[in-house]
Symmetry: C2
Subunit: 665 residues, 2 copies
Amino acid sequence: MTVKELPESRCDVLIVGAGPAGMMLATWMARCGINARIVDKRSTKIFNGQADGLQSRSLEIFDSFGFADRALKEANHMLEMCMWNPGEDGTLRRSDRVPDAIVGLSRFTQIVLHQGRIERFFLDNIKKHSKDSLRIERAVLPESLSISEDLCDDHSPETYPLKVQLRHLTEEEATPAQSNGETIQDGLFRSNLAEDDTDDLIAHSRANAGSTEVVKAKYMVGCDGAHSWTRRQLGFELEGEPTDFIWGVLDIIPITDFPDIRERCAVHSASSGSMMVIPRENKLVRLYIQLTEIKPDASGRADRSQITPDTIIKAAQKIIAPYQLTYKYCDWWTAYQIGQRVGTNFDYKNRVFLAGDAVHTHSPKAGQGMNVSMQDAYNLGWKLALVVKGVAQPSILSTYQSERRRIAQDLINFDHKFSRLFSGRPAKDILDESGVSMTEFKDAFVKGNMFASGLSVDYGSSMLVAKGGDAAEQGDGTDVSSSKTQIAGNQELAKNIKLGMRFPSYKVLNQSDARPWHFQEWFKSDGRFRLVVFAGNVLSTAQKDRLDAFCGKLTASAFLAPHIHKDIDVLTCHSAKRIETELLRDFPEVLHPFDDKTGWDYNSVFVDDLSYHEGHGEAYKNYGVDQERGCVVITRPDQYVGFIGELDGEGVKGVETYFQGVFVS
Amino acid sequence: MTVKELPESRCDVLIVGAGPAGMMLATWMARCGINARIVDKRSTKIFNGQADGLQSRSLEIFDSFGFADRALKEANHMLEMCMWNPGEDGTLRRSDRVPDAIVGLSRFTQIVLHQGRIERFFLDNIKKHSKDSLRIERAVLPESLSISEDLCDDHSPETYPLKVQLRHLTEEEATPAQSNGETIQDGLFRSNLAEDDTDDLIAHSRANAGSTEVVKAKYMVGCDGAHSWTRRQLGFELEGEPTDFIWGVLDIIPITDFPDIRERCAVHSASSGSMMVIPRENKLVRLYIQLTEIKPDASGRADRSQITPDTIIKAAQKIIAPYQLTYKYCDWWTAYQIGQRVGTNFDYKNRVFLAGDAVHTHSPKAGQGMNVSMQDAYNLGWKLALVVKGVAQPSILSTYQSERRRIAQDLINFDHKFSRLFSGRPAKDILDESGVSMTEFKDAFVKGNMFASGLSVDYGSSMLVAKGGDAAEQGDGTDVSSSKTQIAGNQELAKNIKLGMRFPSYKVLNQSDARPWHFQEWFKSDGRFRLVVFAGNVLSTAQKDRLDAFCGKLTASAFLAPHIHKDIDVLTCHSAKRIETELLRDFPEVLHPFDDKTGWDYNSVFVDDLSYHEGHGEAYKNYGVDQERGCVVITRPDQYVGFIGELDGEGVKGVETYFQGVFVS
């Protein structure tokens, strides 16, 4: 073979893997107009099966990109969870019934929809925002990565420290073989019971002299799953323990007399193992079924050939007896054997990042996998975008590992406990020490609900979260304290808008047209921070003077002025009666900017007042903000709360100091 | 030219005109799988301007087809209406502020979105349900219609009494010239200030020997606008009065200090005429502006050449003074001069029907036009579909004229009064008899709100509405009393589910999974009637026995049995505690049918109980149904209430009698 020059190109961000994490990252890139590429070794997207639970927080994120409505319309909504286990007579019975999501926590409850549809929503959104310029490049995978170590710390715009050789597969090479000749789609080839095929794909393509190209990139993100090729190149490990528990998964339309088949159920049988029931869209139900009769071999891995839909349904029938359970239609099936493991490192020198399954693996039964993976990418995407655009300091990239590795550790601990309780045999009585107490299981579930909603995430102190305390201790150990500034927001001014947590949502009215909105609907994922001005009682002259003075100082800040509206969206919510404060023009212009083509902005000033048709949001009360004096809050582009200050000169100074620690001067 | 055989084909329903009425009809045809065609003389759909207000009832209808969510997402929502007129000092001031929609009437309030988007939703829905087999055929128009009079009463499947010759225009022939060379789109060519161009189009195409074809049809519907070619063929007239009032319409992004520019406003100036403000999507605002300085000429028609965006905005500026009003972006503009007129006949021998502007014209300011037109077609579509399919008796077609001509008359009366009050000069004081009392205007608006929502529609007695009384008197005079049956539903059993009105909506829970739904969400427009079984307190043995007996008799009815589930969907709502009545299998099978491929139906039994996250719908209380004993309700495929009976043998007999008057035996 003659040596010839490979085609070479440049991009700012190269994403490897187009699962939910990769697509979330690509969505940010599209939304922020970043020159990015995303490649995936498979030739098609997912069409059925795979992960399917969407937690409340994921729906809030989807909504911030504008496609939660599509998911809500198509999905099955989960409202209630039931626990089934043997009664005193040993017969299976419902012991508990609890709400599936904590009441009042989010405007969204949990839903179930298969991964293929979710990927479709991402694809449509990426297409819309990139104007079709960012497309998933399928049947393409990296085969070599070289990093110019000396360039990693140089974040100037023309520096590309990464060089990646990409290999283009043929359609045939990229299409995975199903594990058997059946027509039912199975997911074993993606399961952790299967070996990774990346190296085989590369070797096969090399033997056929397939085409390659070289990409020089500023940043790269490996969203390439549990076998992550990217992680291997960096030499990073996943740490943790495997388990002996093997589970089968069926997506079927069940024919059954089990009364709770349309509820999420945890079923503990006396001695045949456990099962989880997750009702889905289109009459489907997903069953996670413990395969107690299949054991790992000497290598610690289960024999795949023993596992078929038939063996799985038979195991389910034993667990759910005396109820009947059969099916005529199976949409998809798989099996897995998973421990809880978390990556030692989430980034290499803030140039190569890992997200999703590439840095944490755990059982799918808690419905966390896809959610946490997407949220990894959601955390990283805007940071990368702002650094690439030269708006934010590269140091903010360190918060990715600090924030998300901590979450992964929490997840692994949660899953470890939950899985152990779920896989264990129910205790016969309190003396049965090797059995699992069903009371303990219920408590773990109820307590875990907050975690499982995705809304307990509380990022530690850093240059992005001004909340004081030890940054290393509050994260995963990475030092992300702000080098220039040491400020802390005043939590007391907005007791329920927690520094480090996502901004909660209550209904407010648009001042200009009385339309009620969940305030969160205006916290769009557009790459901008938000300055939320709780203007208080603007009908009081004293308060109006405070507001005017605050806005005057804000616009007078030479540091802030160029960023206001461009990188910092300004949203106002006041607490006076709407119809008594009707004149929007009385508000300082920075709160509702004027454009000489489109006039005044009528979508930036809101009020905490009674709506005509949807009640009163009681926003000030719920946020814990003083109705008279208000306050000012900074949220990050991902809606997490960064700073809280007074509506005065000190507050402006706090806002300025916060952004001096974030933006490039 | 040599005489040659024209291509000839057959279809069940031919629709002429693809505006909102035609598209609504096509949507029904697609949904019910009818062999239909729809032609339109224009070469493209609407892209901007035109009608834009959607009333609550129209949104309920959209939702029943599955696309209200798209409209709600894109539209501007109107919550409040303000009235502006001269104060005692003669200066313009806001005199009143009222909710735009009556609180509690519907789950939807009113929205504004331009007609082009609404047509897009229809097109997508038609495509989806017809699997792409029903498409709008553009640049095609009828040029002759012949009716085989002797075949009109023969409704056997192979009878095609209508023969229509269709002419296919070239793209160029079908594209209307804009009224001037400007780049802003105007609607004058569709306005009633322009002459109809249908005959010109036909003549031009004939001169060019354009292509033609012959279609033999069972039914035809003219949705071809105020100049309706179809109406002219039938020799029917519009009756009513023209007016001298000329109005201009601007769709602009306004630049203004008028405080209520994002509210619906009625502005009466002291002596410069009136204006209506309708805020729209994408920062646009529609202004309806009275052009007091432009008068009709001797022929009674205004000179179009005098009307430009510039003359219109100048008129607006005078009306809204002392506030400033300018714009840099105009999306669309037009002008009109309209009286209130209604067609003498809505059908010809139940074979050719007229809908929408073809049978009623009025001013657009009450936001009724597109809504009433779509609702004409919504009323007609399912009746045609059921007759074509051989399910329903052809006599039900007479209810179209009876029901919709009555509505059109009501509309014309409403619009006449509203327009007069709106176009008049405000009275200076109570002695100013030639002026319009602003109190009277406000009262008319508030009273008219119920009418304007589309929810006051109350269809008279007929074979489709078993409510007793004189059918001719309750309709437009047409005799539509049921020939075979004389039953009347018992209004007392469901006091707030009014016979002849649309079934109202409250929240209920799905028995199987606790998910809250607006009950109306399950009243899909799929061409089926609905039997709503208010099962009462099923935990009482006596009531459970009544329910079982009712269901037993229902399934034992030789007449009803073949229609149940196929032509009559069965929905149940009981009033016992959900968690105490958990066993769906205890309900009679007819209420949740079993399918050997997909198991039990889990979406047909609901309960009036407290939800976890969305409160208590109090459905029984709101519907006025006895919580203990329940009742049974029949709704038509368009959700209007046809019958109410006891949950007993008499009730089954009533249901049977009702359907014997509707279905072919």
